[in-house]
Structure formats: C-alpha cells, structure tokens
C-alpha cells in the first residue's frame, strides 16, 4: 500500500507530531523521533510490503491480555496489514519508540490522529511502552534484545511455509549490549534465514547518555559481519542512501542496515540537553516555552498553543 505523501513528508510529520505531543505532555521520547523519523517513514511508506490496515482508525480500548478466557484478544499487528503469505511483518524491537511509531501510523493513514491523544491514558491500548496489543505492535518487545530472535523464528517458519513475505525488525543500538542480539544473528546466519532483515537506529545514545560513556560497543558493523550477517550502512537521514542499503543482496544471511543517525536531527535546540536525551522532560516552564518556540521554528510549524498556567 503506497501513500500519497512522500517519505520525506511523512518523516517531517512524525517529528512534528512527536514534538507537539512532547510539548503538550511536558515529556516524551522526542529524540527518538529525531533519529528514527526517516527509518519508520521509509519502512511504512516504501521499504515494506504491507497490506491495508485491518484495524479501526481509532484504536479500541485495552481489551485484556492473552488468556484462555479472552478469546477476542487481538494484537496491534493488524495496523501493519493482514497476516498472509505475501505481506511483510514488522517488529518494533525498542518498544519505547512507540510514540514515534504511532505518529508514523497516523502519517501513513493507518491510525486516526485521536489515537495519539490516547497515548499512556488509563485503559487505552496506545501504551507508552508499546505492548503487543498497541497499534502497530505485533509482539511484546519492551524488554530489549528479544525482537530479532522472535523475528528470526517467524522468518524461518514463513520460509518453511513458502511465504514470500519477509520479516523486518526495527532495532535500537542499545540492543547490541544484550547478549541475545548476538545469539539471534548467529542463529539466523546458521540457518540461512535470508527473509529476515533489520534496520537499526544507530544514534549512539542510551538511557544513561552516550553509549561510549555507558558501555563501549566498538565496531558493531564488523561484529555483525563476524556473527554472519550481511551489513549495509547509511546515513539515517539520507533516504537515497537508505534505499540503497536496503537493496543490498543478502542470500543465505540476514541483512542488518545500520542507519547512523543524530539524536537531535531536525531539532538542534535539543543539543542544549545533550547527553541527556533519552526521555525529554523539560526542567522548567521556561525551558518548555523556549523549546516550544525554537523547535517549532526549526520544524517550520506553529508553536503548540499551551493552556495558561
């Protein structure tokens, strides 16, 4: 399903929506929108073969957890289109990127803008840490490092069943600190799982700040290659380069696209907070008001109209 908007426009829309949400709620995963907007826009708008959403535009309320007593349970996978033999599947492995992913769903016409208003509201399925039942989420991933393994298993199964649809994982670079990530690549390479690919937001940030200060991970491209993946690298904000990276042939191996990003792309004013970017909560009303004006100007949108305090 293709959208009328260009991928660039969708990326801009993602940043604007996450910005507005963060200003309104005085907090949000804002820098993830900066680093990942193009990646998610690319995946939904051109990188993946997704069918039309099978879910309502306005997300239904939380409908309970999986249980034998809950036969009507559904995951958020339907927002990514029907699960059939020909279409791709997408896992958002770092579930705290959910806000960015929801904004993307709105931009590509898979969720109504009201959906974002339900973010982190009690009784809503639009959860802060994307849950399996949240829009666009297909499996639970809030515990980082499990996404690629699940995707490898799904991909192996789909291959066995003769599906042409592929399995894609959106990953964060913090995940390379977890041992499981490497076990996943090892298994995918060993079993020749080449209907699996990942795009990783290499923003070099984690909760505590810059990854080099928290736990050095070294040359992850070489590490991934050594574990058996085909690796392609690109500038995460250059869509032409991203397309080329995605097109890298990877017969018999998984493909890992390392998208080198900047955690303040499009919102340079956030640099004043560096390296504390993981979750942006404004320290004062003054900072909030200033960021509202400065970032809006950078994004070319109107500042968010805030209620008087």
């Amino acid at each position: 399903m293709r959208n009328e908007k260009t991928t660039e426009e969708i990326a801009r829309g993602i940043r604007a929506r996450v910005f507005e949400h963060t200003i309104r709620n005085n907090g949000g995963y804002l820098s993830q929108a900066c680093s990942a907007a193009e990646q998610l826009a690319f995946l939904y708008n051109e990188g993946l073969n997704l069918g039309p959403s099978t879910m309502p535009m306005v997300p239904p309320p939380f409908g309970g957890v999986p249980s034998a007593d809950n036969p009507d349970y559904v995951t958020g996978a339907g927002y990514n289109g029907p699960f059939d033999a020909v279409h791709d599947r997408l896992f958002i492995a770092p579930a705290h990127y959910a806000l960015v992913a929801y904004a993307c769903l709105i931009e590509v016409g898979r969720m109504a803008p009201e959906g974002l208003g339900m973010f982190n509201r009690d009784g809503s399925s639009v959860e802060m840490i994307g849950a399996e039942h949240s829009p666009g989420m297909e499996v639970h991933n809030g515990t980082l490092g499990i996404g690629l393994s699940t995707a490898a298993g799904l991909a192996w199964g789909r291959k066995r069943m003769g599906h042409s649809g592929q399995v894609c994982v959106f990953m964060s670079d913090g995940e390379v600190q977890e041992g499981q990530t490497w076990e996943a690549v090892q298994a995918a390479a060993h079993h020749g799982i080449d209907n699996l690919w990942a795009i990783m937001d290499v923003n070099r940030q984690q909760c505590d700040g810059a990854m080099d200060e928290v736990m050095t991970v070294g040359d992850i491209a070489t590490k991934f290659r050594d574990f058996g993946a085909v690796v392609a690298e690109c500038d995460a904000h250059d869509l032409k380069a991203m397309r080329a990276a995605r097109a890298t042939p990877h017969p018999g191996r998984p493909l890992i696209v390392l998208a080198h990003s900047r955690p303040t792309q499009g919102m340079e004013s956030l640099m004043s907070r560096f390296p504390r970017l993981h979750y942006v909560r404004f320290k004062s009303e003054e900072e909030r008001a200033r960021m509202n004006i400065e970032i809006a100007a950078e994004l070319g949108v109107a500042p968010v109209a805030l209620e008087a305090h």
């Binding site: 939380f62 957890v65 999986p66 249980s67 579930a95 982190n120 009690d122 009784g123 809503s124 959860e127 802060m128 840490i129 849950a131 399996e132 039942h133 639970h140 991933n141 809030g142 515990t143 980082l144 490092g145 913090g174 995940e175 600190q177 977890e178 041992g179 499981q180 984690q206 909760c207 505590d208 990854m211 200060e213 928290v214 736990m215």
Partner: protein, 333 residues
C-alpha cells in the same frame, strides 16, 4: 502525611561512602534508579555495566568472590527475569553478598508486562539462600540500604522511588513485621504500597465498626510464619492479604502455607493480581482495575464478615493518613 523526595538517593550515598567495599552497579537505568548523583560524585565506587543484565549478575558474583558487596540497580524485573540462571549459579548458590535493588515493583510502573515485576516475590522466595525485603514507605527505603547490607548472602529488595510517603518512624529490621493495628474482626496483611491502601481502608472501616488487625511485612523471606498464625488465631472472621504482586507465590501463598502447616482453619482472601498479566497505566488505575486498592480491601472485608459497611470511594478519599508514630506494640517495630 509527609512525602519524601527520592529517599533512596540520599540514603544510598550516605551509606556507601562509609563502606568502600560497597559498589554501585547500574544497567543503564542510573537516573531511573536515583543513583545518578552518586555516579557523578563517587565515580570510583560506581560501575556502569550497560544494558546487559545477564552479564551484570554473574559479574556481581565475581565481585562478591573478590570480597566486594555490589548493590545492583535496575527495575526489579530486569534483575531476575532474563538473568535468572546467572542469579542462581553466580549469586544465590555461592551465597555472594550481592544486593539486588529492584525499582518499580509490581504495578508501580506504567511500562506494561515487560516492566512490571509481578512474580518477583514468588520467584525470589523459592531460591535457597535468598533474602527478600520490601520497602513500604520512605523510612523503610532509607533504612533498607544498611539493613540489606547486613545480610550474609544475597538479598533482593523491592524499592520505591520518587516521592514516597513517610508512614513509619522506625527503621526496617529484618524479620520484624509491623503490627499497625490490633483489631479482632479481620486480619489484614500487606507490604509495600498496599500498606498505605490498607491504612486508608482501616480509617473508614473503624468508623463502620469493623475492627481490623493489620500487619505490615517488610521481610518476605525469612517469613515469620509463627507470628502470622498467632495473629490469625486472634481474629474472628479470617484473613485478607493484599499484595502488589500475583496472588500465587507471594504473600497470599505464604500466609496460606503458614495457616495450613499450623493446622489453623481460617478463611483467607488473597487480593492482588489474579493469575493475569497487568498492562500499562497509572498506579491508581492499575490498583483499582486489578482489585488492589483500599476499596477492594473494604469489599473483601465485607465478604469475610458478611456485613455491608456502606463505605464508598468518597468515604475512603476523606480518610486522612497520619504517620504511624505510636504503634500499639512498640517491640514489634
């Protein structure tokens, strides 16, 4: 009721600087676990292990072998779910003096299933050599640091963060439950955040003429079964446990085991998560949704006594909570 801001941060720093063998370990949740100030002021005593919990647990076992007493900081869930095998082999079996500081227990996090430690008590208490503590107020958070470090072996603590109410004026002592009320109709057993709920319910229940005996547990292992049985024997209608956890394997189960082993027949209602995962949402919403709040406790009391109390949400909201300064049994503090 006094609210204390970030009680763990100050208490940990004050204690750790006095004890050079204490090390502060973090798994990329340093400010979330209130140890960012400590990291900045005492970098030599701080070890950043990154988002790699399995390694952190075995690494801590090695530090223990070297004679250090590492305090591991993360969300409770990340200290045992993924690194369970490492916890068993590297920490619990060899009885390393590793202090597991588990933040955001149960439904105190909006992060949903992957972030909510709802079976940690059940898991931890079955591990041989493990001590399990839970802080219920700011005073207990402040005093749990030194108390946990007295343990000759590994210890898991459920820690409250951010703005925490002060309910008690005496420190936590391992093995000493708090007797908060000595009523004769119903025994209520709580721990952690559910104690505040029960105090709220008690205020309204007292006005409705129900006399509640209330125990606050801060030591979940070792578990003082004998005292529980004594208290259960001294009430008319039965026992209610209210926990920020699944009712299986946690406090409800412990009390059931204690009553059964003593051969004491008492009705028991276990409040908490009933064989279900929770989901993301605010703490008050989740406590209400899953029947872990003051009103749920009141309804359970009504079921036990067979008498309606007429208490509703408004009646509970009107209850003022004062610090528990003078408790009935001083020696039980």
């Amino acid at each position: 009721m006094e609210m204390v801001n970030r009680p763990y941060a100050a208490a940990f720093e004050a204690y750790a600087v006095q004890h050079p063998e204490v090390l502060c370990l973090s798994a990329d949740l340093t400010s979330s676990c209130e140890i960012d100030g400590f990291r900045d002021r005492h970098p030599d005593q701080f070890l950043s292990l990154g988002m790699a919990e399995q390694n952190m647990l075995s690494f801590a076992g090695g530090l223990g072998l070297a004679g250090f007493r590492p305090f591991l900081h993360s969300f409770g869930v990340f200290l045992y779910r993924r690194p369970y095998d490492q916890l068993m082999a590297s920490v619990a079996y060899p009885r390393r003096k590793v202090r597991l500081m588990g933040f955001l227990p149960g439904v105190t996090t909006p992060g949903g299933m992957t972030h909510q430690a709802i079976e940690d008590i059940s898991v931890m208490r079955t591990i041989p050599n493990m001590t399990v503590l839970e802080a219920g107020d700011a005073t207990e958070v402040e005093s749990i640091v030194a108390e946990a470090d007295r343990v000759d072996g590994p210890v898991y603590c459920r820690i409250l963060r951010g703005a925490v109410p002060r309910l008690f004026d005496t420190p936590i002592r391992i093995g000493q439950m708090r007797v908060l009320a000595e009523g004769e109709d119903v025994l209520v057993v709580t721990a952690g955040i559910t104690t505040e709920e029960a105090i709220r319910a008690r205020g309204a229940l007292a006005r409705a003429g129900v006399s509640v005996r209330h125990l606050h547990l801060n030591t979940l292992k070792p578990f003082d079964a004998a005292q529980i049985v004594d208290h259960a024997a001294s009430v008319r209608h039965g026992v209610i446990t209210l926990e920020n956890h699944l009712v299986t394997g946690g406090i409800g189960s412990m009390v059931a085991e204690a009553l059964a082993e003593a051969g004491l027949a008492r009705r028991l209602i276990r409040l908490g998560l009933q064989d279900t995962y929770a989901h993301g949402g605010s703490r008050p919403y989740l406590m209400k949704h899953y029947g872990m709040d003051a009103l749920s406790l009141v309804r359970a009391v009504e079921r036990l006594t067979g008498q309606a109390t007429g208490i509703d949400e408004d009646a509970l909201g009107a209850v003022r909570i004062d610090a528990v300064h003078s408790i009935v049994k001083a020696e039980a503090l």
